[in-house]
């Protein structure tokens, strides 16, 4: 038993294949820990089950084998102590930005005055103050993403699970968001599990990069990234030691990219 905040312990997952009786093994004995206050990036080829790991941590999916432990307790039902930032912003289109960010607090029975205060603070921290009464359809993709992050930060979850949150954004917005996320996570001392398929993003943001193999995926490596913070998200190569860190991840990852195969 470790004192880590979140533990993936020998996770295995089989999914039924449509049309056939055999099961497809997606995850095969994945184990790694996440310590409090750490930023862990999980990378792997597409279809390797990275997102599946996050769903397990959120208690939305039970692993076929192994267990996820949060605070040393097995996660067996929906885990409301985590925050989930999905690939698409997934703001509620029928709620204004303010109401969106307020919802988790409302669901948790936080009193009105405190709600208002915390929503304002969360929106300010992601630079969205002044857009409270906008509906999501009136916001740009980047702003929706910020709203989605604010909605997660506002209830101060123990761990923030992020599933390729910046995948759908354009290159510039993405760099700004990465930089802001770094600032926010340092300020809040947040614990983050960040799934991505982008090595540069993983190396720049994370304290640890977990590399998964192709299906059935196994853990290839858990590489500590010791670059000093704050890191420069706009010019990755200017970070002292970036090259070596990138190389360490890439060495593990390259074997999994085989150009002849369709994923």
């Amino acid at each position: 038993m470790s004192d880590s905040l979140l533990v993936f312990d020998g996770i295995g997952q089989d999914f039924p294949t449509p049309g056939r009786r055999a099961m497809v093994r997606v995850l095969d004995g994945i184990s790694f820990d996440i310590d409090r206050g750490k930023f862990v990036a999980v990378i792997g080829p597409s279809g390797c089950g990275k997102s599946t790991l996050l769903q397990m941590a959120a208690g939305l999916l039970a692993p076929t084998r192994g267990a996820v432990r949060h605070h040393g307790r097995n996660v067996t039902s929906v885990n409301t102590e985590v925050g989930f930032v999905p690939q698409q912003a997934q703001l509620f289109p029928w709620k204004t930005l303010q109401e969106n960010v307020e919802l988790p607090l409302l669901l948790r029975g936080v009193p009105t005055a405190e709600r208002r205060e915390r929503v304002a603070a969360a929106l300010k921290s992601v630079g969205l103050d002044g857009f409270e009464s906008h509906y999501p359809s009136q916001l740009s993709g980047g702003m929706q993403k910020r709203g989605s992050i604010a909605r997660t930060l506002v209830y101060r979850p123990d761990i923030i699970l992020m599933d390729e949150p910046f995948g759908a954004l354009d290159a510039q917005t993405r760099m700004v968001m990465q930089s802001d996320l770094q600032t926010l996570s340092i300020e809040a001392g947040a614990t983050i599990v960040f799934v991505t398929h982008d090595i540069t993003e993983a190396v720049l943001l994370a304290d640890n990069v977990v590399v998964l193999s192709q299906r059935p995926s196994r853990l290839l490596a858990n590489i500590p990234i010791d670059l000093p913070r704050p890191r420069n998200m706009f010019e990755p190569f200017r970070n002292a030691g970036f090259e070596a860190a990138y190389d360490a991840v890439w060495t593990e990852f390259r074997s999994q990219i085989d150009t002849g195969r369709v994923h």
Binding site: P104, S137, S140
Partner: protein
């Protein structure tokens, strides 16, 4: 901030000169009314010239008949009966459709059992049930309410069922992780997410409730607009028939406008594509 907001509020338009806005509005209305006026004029001209007036009457005769009907008070009992049937049939049908569609939409198990039955009954032409309903519910308003509500029910049911089933699973999971219980999930996610479908069903159901009621009254009744139209037609009174139809038209138009207003209010979060006033 490098991001841009797409502000959908037409703030600049409102600050423009008031008069040009008004002129534009009036012009738009005139353009809309033009085909209708042209049709009425043609009808008036053609009656007695191209076609015998006994077949088609004419707008002035219809207007006169309408005036007489309201002035003498002859039409009020019919109006009242039909109105009552419409409102009751509509409300019962919509409520049933929303509840049924919602329940089956939320529960895959219920849906698996009941969907084939609903599907089968959906295919039955409800009009064919009119004589049966008269036997079951009598020639009073009961049979008409039943007929209207069953027509409305299926429409609303299918819309709501589809709407609830189309709610994004990820959004539901996200809300659960945020800490929602089932009741909160219903209130904050499923109801608003299916609201556009409910509204669409409600709007589409308005003419169907009218069809149900009128067919019921045609089949057998003691009072109502359907009976009035039926009798007028039996007495070779085309002006009376058209007067009845104009009243029904009024019903449908007013109900449609009310539903449209409710829809715009409830769904103001939707992208303003197609709902906003379009320029000429």
């Amino acid at each position: 901030m490098t991001d841009m907001a797409y502000d959908a509020r037409p703030a600049d338009e409102a600050t423009g000169p008031r008069r040009s806005v008004w002129t534009g509005k009036v012009l738009r209305w005139l353009l809309t009314l033009l085909p209708g006026i042209a049709f009425l004029v043609f009808w008036q001209w053609a009656a007695g010239r191209l076609i015998k007036e006994i077949y088609v009457s004419k707008p002035t005769a219809v207007a006169l008949r309408l005036y007489e009907l309201f002035a003498s008070g002859e039409i009020y009992p019919h109006l009242w009966t039909t109105g009552e049937e419409l409102v009751l049939g509509y409300v019962i049908g919509v409520s049933g459709g929303v509840i049924g569609g919602y329940a089956l939409g939320r529960s895959p198990r219920l849906a698996r059992i009941f969907e084939p039955y609903v599907m089968a009954f959906y295919g039955v032409p409800k009009i064919a049930l009119a004589p049966l309903f008269i036997i079951w519910f009598g020639i009073g308003i009961g049979s008409k309410v039943a007929l209207a509500s069953i027509m409305v029910f299926f429409l609303v049911f299918y819309n709501v069922f589809t709407g609830v089933r189309s709610v994004d699973r990820e959004l539901v999971n996200l809300t659960l992780v945020m800490g929602a219980n089932q009741r909160q999930l219903t209130y904050h996610v499923f109801l608003p997410a299916s609201a556009p479908f409910v509204m669409l069903g409600m709007r589409m159901a308005i003419p169907y409730s009218v069809i149900g009621v009128i067919v019921g009254e045609f089949t057998s009744s003691t009072q109502g607009l359907g009976l009035f139209i039926h009798e007028a037609s039996a007495n070779y009174d085309p002006a009376g028939v058209f007067a009845g139809i104009v009243i029904l038209l009024g019903f449908v138009t007013i109900a449609g406008a009310l539903a449209g207003r409710l829809e715009r209010r409830l769904l103001r979060w939707q992208k303003p594509s197609g709902v906003g006033p379009s320029d000429i």
